[in-house]
Symmetry: C2
Subunit: 786 residues, 2 copies
């Protein structure tokens, strides 16, 4: 955990004004810059000290054998791990004869600030060397949203008291030493020296390294160029290169009042297929483009890109400044993770760290894509297109498992299954319905017909085929899906998981509907009337376990009959439970790691009555320990829906502060992109009550907890730009762009036009008595700010 | 599979008269000699060619890390593997200047014969070298039952046509090269060069090697001595030694009519605690004992030991000579596996190979101990004493898993859990009840009160404690055991497995009963009246799932509702299914690897009505694929009980021929000791209808399939020796030793005395229509011999 507060609360930036070595790895994640293609962790410019050096290129990975003490049929043999690629961030500084290293000497002043509107990381530091030389270093770093292959740094150093001799070494470094980690399965298996040198050069101010990976056979080219400003005639430049390092050296003697300034432009290119010369040229070309744009030009482009972003999707929260900051921080990082991923996956930690081996999971479709769909639909489409591109691998996996259609991987970088632990991997088939659901949502929100009949239809058809072959009708005709694992990873290999069954039901119907909408395209996929009828039959006969005695749904068949976990006897230090109790024991008892039935009540809200939702929420809250970052936001949404606004606020706060307070104790490996996106969902779908319905309509049901005075959010829907603003008493709907649109305010249809906003009073909110959580696992209560 | 017939059918021996290199590894297992302490595979004397060189000492193992791609709490970190220890079998021969190697030259005659009454392996071979020199080699090998640390060989060679110069090299060799195997999880992970040389010597005819293992830190001393008889003056002797080899060399020039004969005596000692000198002395002492007894003396002791054995337990079968041979072969190998194990486990493959890493499983208690209990009760007690000795490890494992009492390991050599695959390992808690059941059976059969109140009570109490903490009462009071794996490894992590629940029920009651019998000893274990009451309550409230609609028991809750495996679409080449289908799919469907509910109907027959047994058997037969060697015998027992005598005979045949025909395709790694013991059970409990009841009584219900004309078997029961013989019409009970005994013949009580046998007619047998098996999985039909 990060002691609160580590960062200054501010509406449009995240700022640290003290350097705490203990949370250096966490701050490297928080201050990471990315555009979805390149990711640079917020390592200090001089490279050391560091928590985890990190430079990533989306999709660039190495393979490794997955070990099994006892192998089994269909166990994936090859794992995938994101690798730390060539580091272009490093600018080392020698002050007289001493390295600028903040572990030694005295820090007089230290500020780092992530500017959410400018899209840069600024740093300012005053340091006195052990020998007494005082210097000020200022740097600004960016990963360009507009120029996808480019990152850049402006670095400036000046003496504060005496003349100093400075040496700057601006480097490209490959195969940096990475800290070894062991024990915690959530931490990525470190790969040592994953890059094999292919070419290295240094000429004038230009540096270049080309490397390739051994097993995955991917090639990466990194090029850098520089502009140097320093006092004549003492400023001198040289460069040199070796296998794993290419280096520009600048020396200068500065008097007080003089500055040495370096602009560093870095370009990356990687490919599985392109030749070394082609890739070298690609990186050089990107570099020339960046040099031509220049530093100020890059800054201007970055701000313009973000101005548009914030205009589309900013969320304003009055009454809780932490959440105001956190939601914008989250929006910014989700944008960074997805903006330019372009037919690559969005990893669970984005490109902010190597956690979860850089894999993508169902989080991308279920937690991250909703936000992107409503704010950056093109980015959402790119992720779904990536999934569609991996259909051959998913179909092969299904075939291997004896199933029809496509079985998308539980965790992957390249589309192949990389999950070795099958009860929570192979058996977690819901990922397929989650992807289908993202397709349906994307089409509903954008009306993108071209996507619908091609990419969308393919995914829906192949996943529907999977479900039809995975489930079966019993003697009485009821359709069952047995032996699968739902979202809650403290249950596994269970029959008729309600979340899975309802999502599969939606998947089957959506595929049949899409095939009807696009009969010619469906026929090309071999879909027949018999097949869609079988999908509809299975959907209509889907089993949804319900315990009539308790009046609640069973997370899966038999769940509510199981023994309740002994929460009273569970030491608070023993969370997360998975690190202190065996899976077999977690699996067989009533204890919920993360929203499962509650998530079903959000994503398939139509399948539950309001009374069932309230009863289910009351039943599952005391069982849910939230040992996952994927839970709080969803509990917030349903809490708001069923009658617990304070609890909704509390869970919203937990989701929002997940990484800023490091609540899961692993922000060091990267941020939880899904939780950051979930914060937006908690505000918009939870307090804003937004739901899609009937495939093409949108409904709002705004409601504010006591502590908040106003929320405003923006959306894109079917080509319109919408703004929704609400207080404790009323809501105002503004259509700022696009053709008229009908929306629901609660049950009332409103016709919105760009002519003028529409305002309506809020109905009275019916509060229910709050449920309890397991001992010690209640979310932190949020209060009015003083 | 071994092409039938590979071995000559003979009542008291197993004989091959042709050397088939393709089945060399299988024949090495079949011809393995062991006394439960030392195991020598039937490798050819000259060492090569070989399938798998194998010399084992019960319990001597090495440790190795268990790898996990994703680790989890409570996963065992250290694996155990039996190692191939110093080979004392090798006697190499040079004929003139050519090595005696059966891959070259011409084999004129080859016979190997395992003599089940003499307890030796005889070999006779006439071979012509590539250069045309003809020799006859005769050897006899034994592992002594009477002198536990000793094995010996008599080796004789003579020229057949011309004078030859012979060189014999009699060796002790450590760290032999072992074939590497991969892919099949059932094959032991090979460990390369596991032995570290500590001492080596050769003086006169005496050889010695002392080695130790690296991680398990065990020391093994091997010593050999020789008696040489050859023609004077050409016979010369020398010896030498190095780290991993100690060698006696004999040279001689022989004319036809002359022989060179070598007696080789080998002694082993191993220990985790004894010093090098102590262990060296131990091996030397054993060797001196053997030399003193001499070759003929050892032969005489061996035969005397076996005469007594056969007198106690021989089974005669008229009408199926293959089964007659196989059952004696099985009895002999079970004796070999267990006779002198002496507070060590009986591994699944005995000491006949390295399969299953040399681990012991529940098979030992459930399949092997019944035979030993009725025939060699001391050996049965030794195994149970070994389990009791591992109670500290089992209690620690239970603690680690958050449970009370003791959790015995699923697979182990040293008592620590070595199963990495938890759904079939950790979750297979039934092993604890299986051990308890063996305790109850042992006490019932022997009346061993000293064992009952000490070793037995400890095991019963700690396992009962486990069950009480593993299960729970639901709101209605019913007791459930959720999320466990029963014997059927094609289902896992299920609720209320009938086998587990019934065995646990028996365990709980037996512990309460034993605590009542021995209140003082129970009090020392902390047992209170409250605790035994809780055990009895749980037992009384035990849930036994029953599908009322189908009128059958559910293997576990919900099992009969699951989809039935598509047997029609399953290629016959795709058995065993586990090598061709993923576990997740096997687990969620109705497909049974091995008797589970059917085993419950045997071991807890009292819990089912005859009608239920018949209906259950008819239901589960078409689902049971027998991808395990642990199934056929048990299906034979229940088939005989419910009304299918021909099927009982067929399954008896399959169990009997398991290794002789290599039906599981892995006899190369060692014999299936449990299946061999099961053959006896199929005869005695199946066709003989023997059951224990009321804790101290015994009942018979003999019935013969058409093809058989007579069965006779012998037993020990409460100090008596009993003989039961039956034909198609009558049964004769003979008490050959001991006080009068009352037994049941069907429902009729018979009072047996040593005065005279009692004969009774057999009641008419009620045949039921035969159930079917999955397509292609019916057992081979057995017919009348021609």
């Amino acid at each position: 955990m990060i002691d609160h507060p580590a960062y200054d609360v501010s509406a449009w930036s995240l700022r640290e004004s003290e350097l705490n070595f203990d949370v250096l790895p966490q701050s490297e994640s928080v201050f990471a810059l990315s555009n979805g293609h390149i990711g640079w962790r917020g390592n200090l410019d001089e490279g050391e000290p560091n928590g985890l050096p990190g430079s990533y290129l989306n999709g660039l990975h190495e393979l490794h054998a997955l070990p099994y003490a006892e192998a089994g049929y269909g166990y994936p043999e090859s794992g995938q791990t994101v690798i730390n690629v060539t580091n272009g961030k490093v600018i080392r500084l020698l002050v007289d004869d001493e390295p600028f290293d903040l572990r030694y000497g005295t820090i007089r002043h230290h500020v780092r600030e992530l500017d959410l509107r400018a899209g840069v990381l600024r740093r300012s530091c005053e340091w006195v060397s052990p020998a007494g030389r005082a210097v000020r270093v200022r740097s600004t770093r960016m990963v360009s949203f507009q120029q996808r292959a480019v990152a850049a740094i402006s670095y400036e150093v000046e003496p504060l008291e005496d003349q100093v001799r400075l040496v700057l070494q601006s480097e490209l470094i490959a195969n940096e030493e990475i800290p070894r980690v062991a024990g915690d399965p959530r931490v990525a298996a470190a790969l040592e020296s994953p890059l094999r040198a292919e070419e290295s050069s240094a000429a004038g101010t230009r540096l270049r390294l080309v490397h390739s990976t051994t097993r995955s056979e991917l090639r990466v080219a990194t090029a850098a160029d520089h502009r140097v400003e320093g006092p004549e005639p003492t400023t001198k430049i040289s460069s040199e290169s070796g296998d794993d390092v290419s280096r520009l050296t600048v020396t200068a003697v500065l008097d007080t009042g003089q500055k040495l300034r370096l602009e560093k432009y870095v370009a990356y290119g990687w490919s599985a297929t392109r030749s070394l010369p082609a890739l070298r040229d690609q990186a050089d070309a990107a570099l020339v483009g960046a040099l031509d744009t220049g530093w100020q030009g890059l800054l201007d482009q970055q701000r313009a890109y973000l101005d548009d972003f914030w205009d589309r999707c900013d969320v304003e929260v009055d009454g809780d400044t932490e959440i105001q900051q956190a939601v914008r921080f989250g929006l910014f990082h989700v944008l960074q993770a997805g903006a330019r991923a372009e037919e690559r996956a969005i990893p669970a930690k984005g490109l902010t760290g190597s956690g979860y081996d850089g894999h993508t999971f169902w989080d991308a479709e279920t937690f991250v894509l909703p936000l992107l769909t409503f704010t950056s639909p093109r980015a959402a489409a790119e992720v779904l297109q990536w999934r569609a591109n991996t259909l051959p691998a998913a179909k092969e996996r299904a075939r291997q498992l004896g199933l029809a259609g496509a079985a998308f991987p539980w965790r992957t970088i390249n589309g192949d299954e990389a999950s070795s632990y099958w009860p929570a991997g192979t058996a977690a088939f819901h990922v397929n319905a989650d992807i289908a659901d993202a397709v349906v949502r994307y089409v509903a929100v954008t009306g993108d017909d071209a996507f619908d009949k091609d990419t969308g239809l393919q995914i829906l058809v192949e996943t529907a085929r999977l479900w039809r072959s995975l489930g079966h009708h019993d003697n009485a005709g009821a359709f069952h899906i047995d032996g699968v694992t739902g979202p809650d990873e403290y249950s596994a290999v269970a029959d008729d998981n309600v979340y899975t069954n309802l999502m599969a039901q939606g998947n089957l119907v959506a595929a049949a509907d899409a095939a009807e909408r696009h009969p010619r395209h469906a026929a090309e996929l071999g879909v027949t009337a018999e097949e869609t009828a079988a999908w509809r039959d299975a959907a209509a006969a889907m089993t949804v376990p319900f315990n009539a005695q308790l009046g609640v749904h069973e997370q899966s068949a038999g769940f509510t009959r199981h023994q309740v976990w002994d929460f009273a006897a569970t030491d608070r230090e023993h969370y997360p439970l998975l690190l202190h109790y065996p899976y077999f024991d977690l699996y067989r008892k009533q204890v919920v790691k993360q929203a499962d039935l509650v998530l079903a009540m959000y994503l398939r809200g139509d399948a539950f009555t309001p009374e069932e939702k309230a009863r289910n929420f009351a039943y599952y809250e005391p069982l849910t320990v939230r040992d996952s970052s994927l839970s709080a936001y969803c509990q917030s949404v349903i809490a708001a829906e069923v009658g617990h606004l304070q609890l909704a606020h509390d869970y919203l706060g937990e989701s929002a502060m997940m990484d800023l307070e490091d609540l899961e104790n692993n922000a060091r490996d990267g941020l939880h992109i899904a939780a950051l996106a979930g914060t937006w969902t908690a505000l918009v779908a939870g307090l804003g009550g937004m739901r899609l319905f009937d495939g093409n309509s949108i409904r709002f049901a705004p409601r504010l907890p006591d502590a908040l005075s106003r929320i405003a959010f923006r959306l894109m829907f079917r080509g319109r730009r919408l703004r929704v603003e609400f207080t404790n008493s009323s809501a105002t709907y503004t259509l700022s762009e696009g053709k008229p649109l009908e929306v629901l305010h609660y049950e009332e249809p409103l016709r919105l036009t760009t002519a003028r906003p529409v305002t309506r009073d809020l109905p009275a909110f019916k509060h229910l008595p709050e449920p309890t959580q397991p001992a010690g696992r209640a979310p932190r209560r949020r209060h009015h700010p003083a």
